[in-house]
């Protein structure tokens, strides 16, 4: 894991892509393209933060990196680097740039398995997820390797893609994709289920367009190769 020249990790704001500061730039971009292409559907639409460490990245290299991401429907938002050249290139391209608080710390964080970071040793063996304690508004995309719980609404135009289950303690009106890597046992729950679109694994369902639907908690799951939605509980 430490030898990875490219590492991709989900963060609060989208994806954090860390690129090796020493490896040849050509091989890095090639490796990055391969890694993204492997999971294109999963990454699509994400906001990206790139960390290049102390590497000085000239403007033309950063431009081609940005284009590489854009061709794959990813948006480069933030560039992290301790190199002044890189920061300058980022500003020239109208990107946000910052120096990682502590590059070493950052590196360690990247290598940390999420399990190791959990401070409480539970007797119950659960699976890992993220809890988002606010409303997701239009344009926001959440990617997660694991489950996603939203304590708030998911508005139209917002999107959640998770490899596990998705639970919305609020109104679901955006697009959510559970079991994004093919897990058909994944479920989607919401207190008020009126999404643009539901996806579980490779299946897609759109909400019936009856206007006055009953507001009650519902759960969506896969049965006989179809997404079914029924009362929750």
């Amino acid at each position: 894991m430490t030898d990875d020249i490219v590492s991709i990790k989900g963060i609060k704001d989208g994806l954090l892509i860390a690129l090796s500061p020493t490896e040849d730039w050509q091989s890095i971009t090639r490796e990055l393209a391969t890694k993204i292409d492997e999971k294109l559907a999963f990454f699509k639409g994400a906001r990206v933060t790139v960390n290049v460490g102390e590497r000085p990245v000239p403007k033309y290299d950063l431009t081609s990196l940005k284009a590489l991401l854009e061709r794959r429907a990813l948006t480069l938002i933030v560039v992290q680097s301790s190199s002044a050249t890189t920061i300058e290139s980022a500003h020239a391209l109208d990107l946000r740039a910052n120096v990682p608080q502590d590059s070493r710390q950052q590196k360690n964080d990247l290598d940390d398995d999420l399990h190791d970071a959990l401070p409480i040793d539970s007797e119950e063996h659960g699976t890992v997820g993220v809890m988002i304690k606010r409303t997701l508004r239009s344009g926001r995309t959440i990617h997660s390797r694991g489950h996603v719980i939203v304590f708030g609404d998911v508005n139209p135009g917002a999107k959640i893609i998770a490899t596990g289950d998705i639970i919305i303690w609020g109104k679901l009106r955006g697009m959510v994709h559970a079991g994004a890597e093919g897990d058909t046992s994944a479920v989607i729950c919401a207190l008020d289920m009126s999404p643009n679109q539901l996806r579980i694994a490779d299946l897609i369902a759109t909400a019936p367009s009856d206007k006055r639907h009953k507001v009650n908690p519902e759960v969506a799951s896969v049965r006989d190769e179809q997404i079914v939605v029924e009362t929750w509980g």
């Binding site: 704001d13 606010r134 508004r137 239009s138 344009g139 609404d153 139209p156 009106r173």
Partner: protein, 265 residues
């Protein structure tokens, strides 16, 4: 003590940002507040036209930023209200001629001399939007009672959250109470249900608005216009006055519900 910087934005174009800016500027000046309005829509300026000041422009915002004139030289005094000034946008350049830092710098220079600085944001969520929002103490989001405008407003609130700005307040513009009553238009409740923002004003659709903009005399100066009254009320709320939402008699039920909504907060 210093000016409050208020940015008027929307995401979607054509919902009434410029009309709102011009009317709030005039209405605040009428209340005796020293006010500057700034057109941040560089390349597509029209706040000057709506305020009837187009033929007085000598210097613009980009001239100030690039040091071709002093800030005071770009400020156009309003014909009727000596406490109201306009800083026009450049027509020949684009949004990248100004940076968010420039906007903060300019508003900081104005703060000590004014009560309100109102910035008219361009449509969209790119550089022009970020320029307009950077110096804002408060953001007013203009939207129309239709799904696409509300969707864009929602996106704007999300972006404001990302910039660690206050979520802003809502101006619901061009509402037709009769259509709401028939269920053909989103109601204020429907809009608040999605956006979860406080409404600072509801402006009814009004045939006086377009001729007023064309003639450069903002509609709030027309005593017979409902929209004009609505803008005046918003200005009064901005000064801290407690003004009840206007009663549009055709649908009192829905305004009562709205009043309840505010009471419950």
């Amino acid at each position: 003590m210093g000016a409050k910087v208020i940015t008027i934005t929307s995401g979607k174009g054509g919902v009434g940002k410029t009309t709102t800016t011009a009317n709030l500027g005039v209405a605040l000046a009428r209340l005796g507040k020293k006010t500057v309005v700034i057109d941040a829509d560089i390349g597509l300026r029209n706040l000057d036209v709506v305020m009837g000041l187009e033929n007085r422009i000598v210097y613009d915002l980009v001239d100030v930023v690039e040091g071709r004139c002093r800030l005071r030289q770009a400020m156009i005094k309003h014909k009727q209200f000596p406490d109201l000034y306009l800083i026009p946008a450049a027509q020949t350049r684009d949004k990248t001629s100004v940076s968010p830092a420039d906007m903060i710098h300019i508003t900081d220079k104005l703060r000590s001399d004014f009560d309100f600085i109102i910035i008219d944001s361009p449509a969209g969520i790119e550089r022009g939007f970020r320029n307009a929002v950077a110096p804002a103490d408060e953001v007013l989001i203009v939207t129309n009672p239709e799904v696409s405008a509300v969707r864009d407003a929602d996106r704007i609130v999300g972006l404001l959250e990302a910039e660690h700005k206050n979520p802003g307040k809502l101006i619901l513009n061009r509402l037709k109470p009769a259509m709401v009553k028939k269920g053909e238009m989103l109601s204020a409740d429907d809009v608040v249900d999605i956006l979860a923002l406080e409404i600072i004003g509801i402006v009814p659709e009004d045939d006086h608005v377009i001729p007023a903009s064309n003639s450069g005399i903002p509609v709030t100066l027309n005593e017979n216009s409902h929209a004009g009254v609505a803008f005046r009320n918003i200005a009064r709320r901005l000064t801290g006055e407690d003004v009840a939402l206007m009663d549009l008699e055709t649908n009192s039920g829905f305004f009562q519900r709205l009043a309840k909504f505010f009471g419950g907060r």
